[in-house]
Symmetry: C2
Subunit: 129 residues, 2 copies
């Protein structure tokens, strides 16, 4: 390994795709180098909330009455067209952050319980670090 770095530590850096069971429940990012697979999975969720509109939609849905809202309640606050809002909501649903329940003519979106908290746990630095 022609690597003349300052400190050749030779840690097991998991460059490949190790079997490592890093699901979405208990693998703090800063604790150990994460595998490429779990990085893709996790990044997809962060990318979903990495857009101002989607972050706002998430907040609007959570703060709405009954912790749910239909598309018609959201287009005006974010000042975007209905197709655009529907698109963003679909991204959030696909990311596992929102649920969609159709009642009558309306589609109601609500937070997936614990989804954001799971992400928060992964970001948090372990106290023993």
């Amino acid at each position: 390994m022609g690597h003349t770095g300052p400190m050749a530590t030779d840690l097991p850096l998991l460059t490949g795709s190790g079997p490592q069971d890093t699901d979405l429940c208990c693998a703090p990012i800063v604790r150990q180098a994460m595998s490429a697979d779990s990085a893709v999975t996790l990044a997809a969720k962060f990318k979903a909330i990495g857009d101002p509109t989607r972050l706002r939609l998430l907040s609007l849905v959570a703060a709405h009455d009954g912790a749910e809202a239909c598309v018609c309640d959201l287009t005006e606050p974010v000042a975007l067209s209905q197709p655009t809002v529907s698109h963003h909501l679909k991204v959030l649903v696909d990311a596992g952050l929102l649920t969609r329940s159709k009642r009558g003519t309306w589609s109601f979106y609500a937070l997936v319980p614990g989804a954001l908290d799971d992400l928060a746990d992964l970001l948090r630095t372990p106290v023993t670090a």
Copy 2:
């Protein structure tokens, strides 16, 4: 307000840019509808970690010896070119998640203390919700 939605709740949804002091310290997303400004600021940080490579770099830096790493330590694990790694590291620095300290020929990157925890706090659902 020609809005015949199912439940006209008329919450103060903050569509404009209210003065609201939603800094990066104490404003849970799901507690109250966030302003457009804070959404942009916050989304920028989440977008920074919304990429598999950057998420991995963050983890690699944190898990490295001394909680810091130079570019030469990171190119091999992520299997990307040096310019690409430098680019991603710059994005993370600009997002306020990494620090760069140049010592000799090497640039050492380290986690900004508490930066990830601050993001985690914003994602967490208040217990009283």
